[in-house]
């Protein structure tokens, strides 16, 4: 089961924890300046190590755009990697929630993702992959700059640790901007996790370290953990405030959203997202009690366009058919009992 299908109901606000390490191999220019020949060499060096350690090699020249889009939705790769024209390869170890992008902006982007609040585990897994590679190649490093990366924003540890959080309370009470400016002051950043525009609807955000240099990996993780637990506390308060301020309106919105997801015949991604937020908020506040969390939470990723096609085992090209398939998928999930 992929990370987005396993649910940690203990952390209601935290969707996932992710650690990404940027590394480069000495003796080669960064991917933006490599010849195809050099890129192929680097990819084969990486493949020699990862192939022996449970990773599948996925050549982007041979996969469908739909498959590439599904990897983006499931956060195994960056949108930039899916669009990349130069030589590039994905190494994927899906059972361990590990992916390695070879020749993205850097030679190596090692990424580990875990459901719920679990940065330590994500970090430990990413490091285990890093160590395998480190033992077989010379990683570019400088005493002053740390791990050398194409863009100086990733220097030092080369690490980006991020936590995907669900914050409807803070969003609807209008406190996201003030949270954002407070995070900036301490070297962290928050941004909508579902692309521009839709983020306000989705209320899903990504909090990550902006600064990768001057703090050790452990300290970055510790800081992020502390901050996220404070954010989650604030979110709980904000939801309670919202509920006491407008009990009737909120209850009405939540129940209407439940009705729409249960009975709609067709549903678009945008409409789904709007209702999903209301229902999750309603579940947090105890307005809705009979929807099983382990069935409902994963819908966030499961009904995204490409992943939906993948899970329904058919490539659904047109929007209307996909919207119908989405409604059916959701209803099947909601009719399941709590295990």
């Amino acid at each position: 089961m992929s990370w987005f299908q396993s649910v940690n109901t203990k952390d209601k606000m935290v969707i996932s924890s992710r650690v990404r390490l940027a590394r480069n191999i000495q003796g080669y220019p960064f991917p933006g300046h490599m010849t195809n020949q050099q890129a192929a060499e680097v990819i084969s060096k990486i493949g020699n190590v990862l192939g022996r350690n449970g990773f599948d090699q996925i050549d982007f020249k041979s996969i469908s755009p739909l498959q590439a889009a599904a990897y983006v939705e499931q956060r195994y790769i960056s949108p930039a990697f899916a669009k990349e024209k130069r030589e590039h390869t994905l190494f994927l170890n899906e059972p361990c929630n590990l992916s390695v992008m070879a020749c993205e902006e850097d030679h190596l982007r090692i990424q580990s993702i875990e459901p719920g609040l679990s940065l330590e585990k994500a970090y430990a897994n990413a490091i285990s992959v890093e160590e395998m590679l480190d033992a077989h190649m010379d990683i570019a490093f400088d005493k002053q700059f740390g791990y050398l990366t194409a863009c100086p924003t990733n220097l030092g540890t080369g690490m980006r640790a991020s936590i995907m959080v669900f914050l409807p309370g803070i969003t609807f009470t209008g406190h996201i901007n003030s949270l954002s400016s407070q995070l900036t002051k301490i070297g962290l950043t928050i941004r909508g996790a579902h692309g521009e525009g839709s983020e306000a609807q989705a209320c899903v955000y990504q909090i990550s370290n902006q600064i990768s240099m001057g703090l050790s990996e452990e300290d970055i993780i510790k800081k992020l953990n502390e901050v996220v637990s404070m954010v989650v506390e604030t979110e709980t308060e904000a939801e309670k405030e919202l509920y006491s301020r407008s009990h009737d309106q909120l209850t009405d919105r939540v129940l209407r959203a439940e009705g729409a997801l249960k009975y709609a015949y067709m549903i678009s991604s945008e409409e789904f997202m709007k209702h999903y937020v209301q229902i999750r908020l309603g579940m947090n506040l105890g307005i809705i009690k009979d929807i099983p969390e382990e069935q409902f939470y994963p819908l966030l990723i499961e009904v995204m366009p490409a992943t939906l096609c993948q899970l329904s085992d058919e490539a659904i090209g047109d929007d209307a058919r996909r919207d119908r398939a989405r409604a059916a998928f959701i209803q099947k999930k909601l009719s399941k009992e709590t295990e």
Binding site: K143, Q144, P152, L155, G156, M213, S216, E217
Partner: protein, 192 residues
């Protein structure tokens, strides 16, 4: 001397900039200088450069003065005063790195350390890595760290007039340092 950007034409335009406390000098041919001005790498508002190419190529002898006016520094350097502006490993110039915000190869950080230190400082605040190091360097770094620690202990011991401890520490430091040299010596012998 040759233009530092195209490495083809004779350089007739010179200018200086102060980076990270150090002065860097550059030399370009008129065409490259005009292009750099157009790209916004060289800026000034008090001159009308609406047709910079013509202006620059039409005034071959007045250029030094023109640019000294722009940058407020005395110009025309001897060619040995010119700083490194291109990474010899990948060919990326200071200008390209500035413009794209990206280095061309890992060696850029060593070859153009001043520029990249300045860029890194503006992003991260400080330029001092803390944390993991590659496996192959771990032993060396641990040893460096241990040496630093012993040296600071030695300083404290002398300051507090604990000479017995100081003597012990001094021996320990000597031993570590000579071990290192021996190792290096062996390694270079092997290479030969």
């Amino acid at each position: 001397m040759l233009c530092q950007k195209c490495q083809k034409n004779e350089a007739t335009v010179f200018y200086k900039e102060v980076l990270n406390g150090k002065t860097h000098s550059y030399a370009f041919c008129p065409a490259c200088a005009a292009q750099l001005y157009k790209d916004g790498e060289i800026q000034d508002t008090s001159f009308d450069f609406s047709d910079p190419f013509d202006l620059l190529s039409g005034k071959p002898f007045g250029l030094d003065n023109l640019f000294s006016g722009l940058f407020g520094v005395p110009q025309v350097e001897s060619s040995n005063g010119i700083g490194k502006t291109v990474c010899p490993d990948c060919g990326m110039s200071v200008f390209e790195i500035r413009k794209t915000g990206m280095a061309g190869c890992p060696k850029c950080y060593e070859n153009l350390r001043d520029l990249l230190t300045e860029m890194t400082r503006s992003i991260h605040g400080d330029v001092k890595h803390v944390g993991r190091v590659p496996g192959k360097l771990q032993e060396k770094y641990n040893k460096d760290g241990k040496l630093d620690q012993l040296k600071s202990e030695l300083k404290d011991a002398i300051a507090s007039e604990n000479f017995e401890k100081a003597a012990k520490l001094r021996d320990e430091i000597k031993k570590m340092e000579s071990d290192g040299q021996q190792k290096n010596g062996d390694a270079s012998k092997e290479e030969l």
